[in-house]
Amino acid sequence: MNKLVEDDAAAKARKGRNIALGLGLVAFVLLVFVVTVVRLGANVANRPF
């Protein structure tokens, strides 16, 4: 493969990898957010004033 010119197969594969990675990152961020709300929520409800 020419270093400067990317062929169609490589471009398609890269696009697919990037989309999968992007979706994975978004899912991870959402997961951390939801877990934080769930865990923090219980602790906030039980906090001693």
Binding site: M1, A9, A13, G16, R17, I19, L21, V35, V38
Partner: protein, 336 residues
């Protein structure tokens, strides 16, 4: 073990072109089929604990178990690419087929290992995370890098990694790992040898070619058939113990009892058969070692039957435990 190392020939792996690696190739590194089985047994452990758990945290726990299993798979495929390329069953895997670079597979495995363990620890509890970390290290390092190429007991000891998910699930739900959690581990642990040896009896030549010291390759088919019978005789009574300790109910008793009887029958048939004899690499050197075509076919069939039924047996027992937990069926405690 130098003898085994010498048996492993050099492979002509195609040069990987990372530019054309698709996301599906990376997904294949996670061994999705193994992952689904691990998710099933882990979920069963989590629900069989019968401890109320926030559904989101339960889902995160199962996800982490799946990711941890996937990470182990990727690390295994990275390290075993040389021998995977020599066996029909595994030569199409992403690394030996040149779709993904070995380094990329290793990186994915390490990243997912850290991610799954840290997430499980922070979201659920550190006992579950510790057990998951132990499972990954045991599979990727102890089994893949050491036992698999060194001893005929590779899948016996290495089977512990595949057996641990129910204990991880149980620990995630309760923060502890009592006897009943370990009974589920023991069932999978004792199930693994007859299951894999039945398979290896009819694909022995492939393992021999790759230099993997599977029991039939080193000790012969006859010894393997005896070991299958011995492990089956231990497995079936252990499968019945959950009804003594308050883990399994009447449905489980029926499944484990009836399935166990069939399992023993099939194991005994394998013991009496010639399964694996045709594939025994030492058989060719023996003039008096004659196996008729009918006996070869019957032997392979006996091994295939046991292999297929073993999957059904384990699945049915865990499905029964899962079903009883979900439906709230009272577990039996015959010891009390």
């Amino acid at each position: 073990m130098p003898k085994i190392a010498a048996m492993i020939p050099e492979t002509d792996q195609p040069l990987a072109n990372p530019a054309t690696a698709r996301w599906q190739d990376f997904f294949q590194l996670l061994k999705p089929r193994v992952m689904s089985l691990v998710v099933f047994t882990g979920l069963t452990g989590l629900l069989a604990a019968r401890e109320p758990m926030h559904p989101v945290l339960a889902a995160v726990a199962v996800l982490c178990i799946a990711l941890g299993a996937g990470a182990s798979g990727a690390l295994n495929m990275w390290f075993d690419a040389d021998i995977d390329g020599l066996m029909r069953r595994t030569r199409g895997r992403p690394v030996p087929s040149g779709k993904v670079r070995g380094d990329d597979a290793a990186a994915l495995g390490v990243v997912l290992s850290l991610l799954s363990v840290m997430l499980l620890g922070m979201a659920v509890n550190w006992l579950a995370a510790g057990l998951l970390a132990f499972t990954i290290v045991f599979y990727a390092v102890v089994y893949t890098m050491w036992l698999k190429r060194w001893t005929t007991q590779n899948i016996v000891i290495g089977g512990l990694a595949g057996a641990l998910p129910p204990a991880i699930g149980w620990a995630a739900a309760t923060g502890s790992a009592p006897l009943n959690a370990w009974l589920m581990v023991a069932i999978i642990f004792l199930w693994t040898p007859p299951h894999f040896w039945a398979l290896s009896l009819y694909i022995t030549t492939d393992y021999a070619k790759a230099g993997v010291p599977m029991l039939p390759v080193i000790k012969g088919a006859k010894h393997t058939r005896l070991q299958i019978l011995i492990y089956s005789l231990i497995l079936v009574p252990v499968c019945l113990t959950p009804v003594l300790t308050g883990l399994g109910g009447p449905l489980y008793l029926a499944v484990a009892g009836l399935g166990g009887a069939v399992f023993l029958l099939l194991a005994f048939r394998v013991f009496l058969s010639k399964a694996g004899d045709a594939a025994d690499p030492r058989a060719a050197d023996r003039d008096l070692y004659e196996v008729t075509e009918d006996a070869k076919a019957a032997g392979a069939k006996a091994a295939r039957n046991l292999f297929a039924f073993s999957i059904l047996y384990l699945f049915a027992m865990f499905a029964a435990l899962l079903g009883e937990a979900v439906l709230g069926v009272k577990a039996l405690e015959l010891l009390r």
